[in-house]
């Protein structure tokens, strides 16, 4: 199955701190801008939605033609503004959409653990861009595994 997927971690000020194109399909020339645009617009919805549910995994929150935005937010219960992780996929085949959602959920969970490891690094300034290549490799490996 070919799909493009763009994965972005946004910090609590909605600043993207990590971006990755993790899909198997070739990247479209306008994809970066397009994906960013769609994900940025989806932040509005995330903000709306994050307060209506206590779940961290917000499922598919938005669709943009063929693209589905799936979100997981964290830290909501601690009174902080949510740190948002946004995922975004192209053309999920119908029959697999449920398993895919499951996959995304697991993907999010594992990436979250990775993110916590990064956060515990004393040299990492919380909220700054994640530049660790190790993190990047791991995220891509997880993407291959689950998506």
């Amino acid at each position: 199955m070919t799909s493009t997927a763009c994965f972005i971690i946004a910090s609590r000020n909605d600043i993207p701190i990590y971006e990755a194109e993790v899909g198997s399909a070739a990247k479209r020339e306008d994809a970066a801008q397009l994906h960013q645009f769609i994900l940025h617009a989806a932040l509005d919805i995330v903000q709306d939605l994050a307060w209506t549910t206590s779940a961290m995994f917000l499922k598919a929150i938005d669709r943009f033609n063929d693209l589905v935005v799936t979100t997981r937010s964290r830290n909501r219960n601690k009174g902080k503004a949510p740190t948002i992780k946004v995922d975004f996929l192209t053309n999920p085949p119908v029959t697999q959409s449920l398993t895919l959602e499951h996959g995304i959920k697991s993907f999010f969970q594992e990436v979250h653990e990775l993110y916590i490891k990064i956060l515990l690094n004393p040299l990492y300034l919380p909220g700054s861009r994640i530049t660790s290549s190790h993190f990047d490799t791991k995220v891509r490996a997880l993407a291959r595994k689950y998506l």
């Binding site: 929150i61 943009f64 959409s97 449920l98």
Partner: protein
């Protein structure tokens, strides 16, 4: 049953509300009709919904219809079941009767018929026509009604009520309403049950061949409609949803032929709210469904209870516009909760943006593509939206072949940005159109099905309502029916060119569009643009009112694009700024890179130079990957060229994101108060090329007070290379405290740069650090003022006055280098520096000081250790300044300065008794010192005065003793040593003043002469002279000095480190002779004797101790001549001597001469007694009379023995004679 489809719609439209049948048994309806109908609609009602839960309704609409009415008659039973919703929900039997017989015989049998009919919910209204004044009739009526109740009402249910025409009972109407509602409720429950059973039955048979969707549809639809007229809208909606679901399942199973529909004129207009636009028979024809119409029909039915969305180019546009209008006019958000208001605006915004997208798509199709801004939002919405898939793509009409549109050429972007324009199409239109021209398609059903859920994020609320299975169904169906393109068929036909496609599309659209407004919109670019603007504004405004600010801001950007194209740069810039602020604030740089060049262009057009340059800087500070190196260089050259061009105003530019700076790692630089320094700072430049700053300056901020701080300037031109640049700033003296880096400013031409940004010391290319608080690592520490050096006098004891002496000044550095220090010396009055001598300087080590030094610093200890070589140097005083040698910079040193204190006054000796010591202050001298040191002579140690104490070598005191008989005087002279040095007296000589001469040999030497006398410090030595007071000859008188002068020749041996020491000049000459050379002179005061008694006056003893008042007393004085008074002899030729007795006449009474002359022989030893009689007048202690000799000087009188001071006088004795006579 499908035959009934035709009637179905008319039946539905014919019965808008519930029917209550009226069985008029006694022909009384016309008289009561008006009062009954006044009760409609029912104010309150409670009905059960499908799940048998009570629902409270208001204003339930109903209609009273006579059973004889044509609408209720002549219906076939089957028809009745099918369209049961239109059957009466309650039957009201109107009956009247005036006597019991009539009731029994006529009425009761007729009523029984109703009572037995279980299918109807009935009840009887007994109408009493008895007038209240007619008792007879009233009674009768009551009786009859009682009979009614007995016959028809049961315990379970009351079925009767009584209505008095002439004044109904007050609660009659309530009762009537209750009865009717009760009946309606029962009927409704029963009918729901019936429909449900039927539907279930049909559902079970669904997979059998005989199953007919029409039947199912009618039943389901009937049920839904029944709910609708019972005003149970939620149930109705649910039924319609189920119907839709079932429809989808059915058509996907196959076997039912389906065509798309929408083939008739006017189908492009959304008939969203009008289910009756087409008759159902047209929609469902002989097992065939017209999908478009059917769905539209369903939607219309659903939309009676709710307003969802649907779309399809024109249709969507009109639908959206209709919805916006409908909701907008009905909406007044005054009483709504804020969440609802927000949600409303969000929905409106969605409608607007959906409409906008579709309008863009249409505009693109007819060739307005060049007019559409290729912004991220337009690209995202259009490039992912599939092309319309008509069965046959329209071909160019013959008459339009000449109309050719301009080919699109992308607008040249500012800064010469070479960027691929963002796509506005999912696939290339030419290919799509040519492929679709001959291929056959049922229509883009998938798009329709997706439409409500997928487009533009509209879906979130709707898709959540839909079950996932439903979605799956929808998608599957679309896959099945969208047939692939058939390229084979198009062979042989010339492919259309793009311009032709546009023209063809335009013509086709013109045919399709029936709405005149919409036609007008697509007629010209201007009107399109106007509409586009209107929609964009609407969307933006709505989103701004909702939670979704980002959508609103992004659409503001689209408004800006249009404004920009129209040349309204002001508005455009404002809107673009909003968008840029949004993206920049959240740092979505890819998006920012799209918009920012536009903003820059606007600002340039507006001559907003500051804004333009800011934008350039922001462009430069974006992620490096977003622009090519060449583009970045263009940005920089724009900045630089503008900076050097003629600018009206100075422009301040914040380059915090581009130029960052930080101090060097490590501990902060430490400076003493007042010291300048050099501060080294690392500056990272984000410019792609070298940039030359005319000047660069940096502020320092004090940590203790944000207002305080200094500014460092580096006025020379500085070239910043891309990346890391070390820059040093001269640091003027700062106030004490810690300092952090503040703001970096630089000038390029007329441009002022300013950077607040503090890079953490890491690579400058990641600007994430900006968002964090500046690290408050101090870069500079200026210590509080403390003594850095000390100057003090080496000795505190007195120095020798009037001689050249060394004064030692200790210069002591206090952990601060005295390198290059200069000492200014100024002497106070009465002090001079012997400039002929050079100044000596040597290292100094005090034992006490040394130990503290050792404790403080190891270096100092090493230098000061005894083993360390002692420095010694001779220095010169130039203009009162001394330059310190190199070696003295870190160690304590002592300066020996030759000085001489001058005092012209002769030292005065004092007699041993008197306190006549010379004041110490007279011999104080001051030396003002000023030490300039530090890196740039900035540190100044100033000591206004070092007090030097000078003294004569000796202090001389005298004591004189009279030998009495031979006029010989013995003079003892004591010499007190005043100095902290050993003095040796070699010779003493006393010159006497007039009136005194040396007795004996008279060479002026003391009688006890054993020279040299050695006097140790602070001890004294005595000398004895013998002299007598005698006049000398006249020539001798001229030679003698006016005062007695003691001349002492002495020597001194002392150390300059302790105190007084041999004077300098001698030391330089000859050491052996030094002791003999010094002389000291001091005056001595000798006075001739003052008292010269010639007469002695003695008070002779009184006869008794006590006097009494009134008692006579003789007081006697004896006067004796002690010696001849030669001087007085001339005026007093005779022996007469004047005397006088002084007495207080109040207290004494005198008898005898008070004043007179007595004769006293001139001869020595002659004496006389003067006596006087006197009487005391008052009692007590009183002064006795006193004798005075006015002619004789007091100095020549000696009172010996002295008279008594007071005498005691007793009161008079008591007089007995007086007592007797009495």
């Amino acid at each position: 049953m499908a035959n009934y489809l035709a009637q179905f719609q008319t039946i539905k439209s014919a019965c808008p509300c519930m029917i209550v049948a009226v069985e008029d048994v006694s022909d009384i309806w016309p008289t009561v009709k008006s009062s009954f109908e006044q009760r409609l609609p029912f104010k309150k009602a409670c009905l059960n919904n499908k799940t048998r839960n009570p629902v409270f309704l208001e204003n339930l609409r109903a209609e009273f219809v006579l059973t004889t009415d044509a609408r209720l008659r002549s219906r076939f039973p089957q028809e009745q079941y099918l369209f049961w919703f239109r059957e009466p929900y309650a039957t009201l039997v109107l009956a009247t009767c005036e006597d019991l017989d009539e009731f029994k015989n006529i009425l009761k049998p007729r009523l029984k018929v109703f009572a037995q009919n279980d299918e109807r919910e009935w009840f009887i209204v007994f109408v009493s026509r008895a007038h209240p004044s007619n008792d007879q009739a009233t009674k009768m009526a009551k009786k009859v009604y009682a009979k009614f109740e007995a016959d028809f009402s049961s315990k379970k249910r009351e079925r009767c009520c009584k209505f008095d025409i002439y004044g109904p009972e007050p609660n009659f109407w309530e009762e009537l309403e209750f009865r009717i509602i009760e009946s309606v409720k029962n009927t409704l429950d029963r009918r729901i049950q019936f429909y449900e059973d039927e539907i279930r039955k049909l559902s079970e048979q669904r997979f059998m061949p005989i199953w007919n969707f029409c039947n199912f549809f009618i039943l389901k639809e009937s049920l839904a409609f029944m709910f609708e007229i019972a005003q149970l809208h939620e149930d109705a909606l649910r039924e319609y949803d189920e119907l839709e679901l079932c429809y989808l399942e059915t058509v996907n199973m196959g076997g039912i032929y389906r065509e798309f529909g929408g083939l008739d004129r006017g189908d492009d207009q959304a008939a969203l709210l009008n289910p009756g636009k087409k008759s159902l028979t047209q929609i469902v024809l002989d097992e065939t469904f017209r999908e478009f119409e059917f769905r539209q029909y369903l939607f219309a039915c659903q939309s009676k209870s709710m307003l969802p969305f649907c779309m399809r180019e024109v249709w969507v546009i009109t639908a959206c516009l209709a919805l916006i209008d409908a909701t907008g006019t009905k909406y007044n958000g005054e009483d709504e909760a804020p969440e609802i208001v927000k949600e409303f605006y969000r929905v409106q915004g969605d409608l607007y943006s959906l409409c906008r997208t579709k309008l863009l798509r249409l505009a693109y199709l007819i060739g307005y593509g060049t007019e559409i801004e290729r912004s991220p939002v337009n690209s995202a919405s259009l490039s992912m939206l599939p092309w319309p898939r008509p069965a046959v793509w329209p071909s160019v009409p013959d008459e339009a072949s000449s109309e050719m549109l301009q080919q699109e050429s992308p607008r040249a972007r500012h800064f010469g940005l070479q960027r691929k324009p963002l796509p506005l199409e999912p696939t290339v239109l030419v290919r799509e159109a040519n492929r679709r021209r001959t291929s056959f398609s049922v229509g883009n059903a998938s798009e329709i099905f997706y439409a409500g859920r997928i487009d533009d994020g509209l879906a979130s609320n709707e898709s959540s309502k839909q079950s996932p299975a439903d979605k799956v169904q929808a998608i599957m169906m679309s896959r099945t029916y969208s047939s692939p393109g058939n390229f084979d068929c198009s062979i042989g036909r010339r492919p259309m060119r793009l311009a032709e496609i546009f023209v063809a599309a335009e013509y086709a659209l013109k045919k399709t569009i029936s709405n005149p407004d919409l036609q007008k919109i697509l007629l010209s670019v201007e009107s399109f643009e106007q509409k586009y603007m209107e929609l964009t504004k609407g969307a933006a405004d709505s989103y701004h009112h909702s939670w979704w600010k980002r959508y609103g801001v992004v659409l503001d950007g689209e408004i800006a694009a249009v404004c920009f194209k129209r040349g309204n740069f002001d508005l455009a810039a404002k809107s673009y700024e909003k968008v840029c602020a949004l993206y920049a604030g959240e740092r979505w740089e890819d998006l920012l890179a799209e918009v920012l060049p536009n903003l820059a262009e606007c600002q340039k057009s507006l001559d907003d130079l500051a804004g333009y340059l800011t934008s350039c800087v922001r462009l430069l500070s974006l992620d490096k990957g977003l622009f090519s190196a060449k583009e970045r260089q263009v940005f920089q050259s724009e900045v630089v060229s503008h900076a050097h061009s003629e600018m009206a105003h100075h422009v301040h530019l914040d380059v915090s994101s581009l130029i960052t700076f930080s101090g060097n790692p490590g501990p902060p630089m430490a400076l003493c108060d007042g010291d300048p320094g050099t501060l080294s700072v690392t500056v990272w430049s984000g410019f792609p090329d070298d940039i030359t700053l005319d000047s660069i300056s940096l502020t320092l901020m004090a940590t203790y007070n944000a207002d305080e701080g200094g500014k460092l300037r580096n006025l020379s031109a500085t070239c910043l290379k891309p990346g890391r640049n070390p820059i040093t700033f001269p640091l003027p003296p700062q106030k004490p405290g810690s300092y952090v880096l503040g703001v970096l400013t630089g000038h390029v031409g007329h441009l002022t740069f300013r950077s607040h940004s503090f890079s953490k010391g890491g690579p400058a290319d990641s600007d994430d650090f900006m968002s964090y608080e500046k690290p408050t690592r101090p870069i500079l520490k200026v210590f509080k003022p403390r003594p850095l050096a000390d100057l003090s006098a080496a000795i505190s004891s007195a120095l020798l006055i009037n001689e050249t002496q060394w004064v030692g000044i200790i210069a002591q550095p206090l952990k601060y280098s005295l390198k290059g220090a200069v000492l200014h010396i100024e002497t106070g009055p009465g002090l001079m520096i012997e400039e002929s001598h050079s100044i000596e300087m040597e290292s100094y080590r005090n034992s006490a000081q040394g130990s503290t030094d050792t404790a403080n610093s190891g270096d100092a200890a090493k230098d000061c250790s005894p083993a360390a070589n002692k420095h010694f140097e001779k220095l010169c005083l130039v203009n009162g300044k001394i330059d310190f040698p190199e070696w003295a910079s870190d160690v304590s040193s002592i300066l020996w300065i030759p000085i001489r204190a001058i005092d012209d006054k002769l030292a005065r000796g004092s007699s041993s008794g008197g306190p006549d010591r010379q004041s110490v202050v007279d011999r104080m001298r001051t030396l003002a010192l000023k030490l300039e040191f530090g890196i740039s002579k900035n540190q100044i140690y100033e000591r206004q005065s070092i007090t030097l104490h000078f003294s004569d070598p000796f202090h001389v005191t005298t004591r004189i003793v009279d030998q009495c008989n031979d006029d010989m005087l013995l003079l003892q002279v004591t010499l007190h040593s005043q100095l902290n040095a050993t003095l040796s007296v070699y010779d003493v000589c006393l010159d006497l003043q007039a009136g005194f001469i040396h007795a004996g040999k008279g060479n002026g030497r003391p009688i006890s002469g054993s020279f040299p006398l050695v006097i140790s410090p602070t001890s004294k030595v005595g000398l004895l002279f013998r002299l007598c007071s005698k006049k000398r000859s006249a020539e001798d008188e001229n030679k003698v000095p006016p005062e007695n002068i003691l001349n002492i020749r002495y020597g001194i041996s002392g150390d300059r480190t302790i105190g007084a020491h041999p004077p300098l000049a001698m030391k330089s000459n000859e050491t052996g002779d030094t002791g003999r050379g010094l002389s000291f002179r001091s005056t001595l005061i000798l006075q001739q004797p003052i008292l010269n008694p010639c007469l002695a006056v003695g008070f002779l003893p009184l006869p008794s101790d006590c006097f009494r008042v009134g008692q006579l007393v003789t007081i006697k004085w004896r006067v004796e001549r002690l010696k001849d008074n030669e001087e007085k002899r001339v005026p007093q030729n005779n022996d007469e001597m004047l005397y006088e007795i002084n007495v207080n006449s109040d207290k004494w009474m005198l008898a005898g001469r008070k004043r007179g002359h007595v004769s006293l022989a001139m001869k020595q030893g002659s004496r006389i007694v003067i006596s006087i009689l006197c009487m005391p007048l008052v009692a007590g202690y009183i002064h006795p009379p006193r004798l005075r000799l006015p002619d004789v000087n007091e100095a020549n009188i000696s009172c010996r023995p002295a008279g008594c001071h007071m005498v005691c006088v007793l009161p008079p004795a008591p007089s007995s004679s007086f007592c007797i006579s009495a």
